[in-house]
Symmetry: C2
Subunit: 291 residues, 2 copies
């Protein structure tokens, strides 16, 4: 049975490497050799320090130097000396470079939508791709502090509310819940944290400042495809760090005993159950943690 699982995994690898042959060559669709194209693309993804680019693309310093000079000659990239350490250099796209990146993006988008369009069950395929992408990308997650009204934050929140309304017997209506003021979840009073993989959010958590000597954790959510992989712990650790950085030393949160995984997590990780501290109708369990 294990050999069967290995065979399935290898079949997957074969399928995607066969498929992504087409993807790799789309880099080349721009009529540029792979090396410089990858560098241009890395810069377009926001990588600036040469060190970072070298590390990501795993190319030699001499190689990168030559690629960069080539891209500079073509007027796609400029480099300047870093302010903080004048040994280091920073690469930036010129307008022409940015335009070239955009055309690459368009091409990739087209390819992606072709893949989806060709499939009779795009939703199932997307879910499967999410699971795989998250499984493989766990080490590349990043955090971002955004406004609670950021569209990516809103997307997470909507998914969260939808899930609550399905899990709670009597449904869930945000309007009836204590929806935190945006100001309370914005620095310096609080924060709203997104966990990102590539450019998509896979989880969120809100830190709501109060005037009562503690802050609350609100709207803690991880996308279903990413559950069971210890991401909750990472996200909580990250938001606790943020809280400490804001000078907060007591955290509270409310939850519902229906959300068994969450409750188990809190009990196991230094949270202690306390008395109800707000009138919100949905929660029935309340926790506190000293930082």
């Amino acid at each position: 049975m294990l050999t069967d699982q290995i065979a399935r995994t290898r079949r997957f690898y074969r399928a995607v490497t066969a498929e992504s042959g087409a993807l790799d060559s789309s880099y080349l669709g721009l009529g540029r050799p792979l090396g410089p194209a990858r560098v241009l693309n890395a810069i377009g993804q926001g990588m600036e320090e040469l060190d970072q680019i070298r590390n990501y693309l795993r190319i030699d310093s001499a190689q990168l130097s030559r690629y960069l000079r080539g891209l500079e000659d073509e007027g796609l990239v400029t480099t300047r000396i870093s302010g903080s350490d004048s040994r280091c250099r920073i690469a930036t796209l010129t307008d022409a470079g940015a335009e070239e990146i955009r055309s690459y993006e368009r091409l990739s988008d087209e390819q992606a939508s072709t893949v989806l369009a060709r499939h009779p069950r795009p939703k199932a395929l997307l879910d499967a791709m999410d699971l795989v992408a998250i499984a493989f990308g766990l080490d590349r997650t990043r955090y971002e502090i955004v406004s609670p009204s950021d569209p990516r934050a809103q997307a997470c929140l909507n998914a969260f509310y939808t899930e609550l309304s399905q899990r709670f017997e009597r449904g869930f209506d945000v309007a009836k819940s204590c929806d935190p003021d945006h100001a309370d979840m914005t620095p310096p009073r609080g924060a709203f944290l997104l966990m990102m993989l590539d450019r998509l959010p896979i989880g969120c958590a809100g830190l709501k400042g109060t005037d009562h000597g503690y802050a609350e954790i609100k709207r803690m959510w991880i996308t279903p495809a990413a559950r069971g992989m210890g991401l909750t712990h990472r996200l909580m650790a990250e938001i606790e760090d943020k809280a400490r950085a804001l000078g907060i030393n007591t955290l509270r949160l409310d939850t519902n005993s229906i959300l068994t995984e969450a409750c188990a997590y809190y009990r196991k990780h230094g949270w202690t159950e306390i008395e109800r501290f707000n009138p919100d109708p949905y929660p029935d369990l309340f926790f506190e943690k000293k930082l």
Copy 2:
């Protein structure tokens, strides 16, 4: 929402290309440049005609020639002139070549099991990988006629029986069903057909010869990850071809009205409902088709 789907698809691509960088270099783990390694591997996969190899690897004729000569010099491959067309050549692995392939296989197996071992929900990951692999590999399906006792056939049949026992209200017990004699599903009386993707079966169908002027289609099954993509039709077309080749001109089958997708398919594709023609307790619908 569509842009979101595209972003998810592209995240998937990024994840697997980042991941399969490791995979690609495992080719190189053998200490051989990518080109010759790919050729060696293609031959190891059973590709023999140079034309076929060139086509699969998309490499130039001159290039392949040189790679082959290099592999010959190393004693990993021999080439001989094809019997049917002496312009063509056939490449075969030597023992040393086969051993090198095996060490590559071991490496790939190890990598695959590492990926699985690292994941907290290997079953979900495997299901997702299957779905993706099948979606991407649809054009590479092959058919194979095997004995019904072949382990791959047995794996399909067990999956089929398990599914039936879940879908039928009173469960399913093969022993109580009319389990066809293996001889009836073996040429020249009949056949057992596997639909393969890479080296794994994704579906099966049995053709059971009888002495009553017709043959029966039995044990028609497609793996869940591959459903909704028109594979039933392909598999049915293939087995009808096989039936014709065996000189069969009337097909019958039995099914249960619970299996709504299957019934809808039969009605739509030239099958006409007929009276019960066997005493099997599980089916309640009977079809016939003239070829």
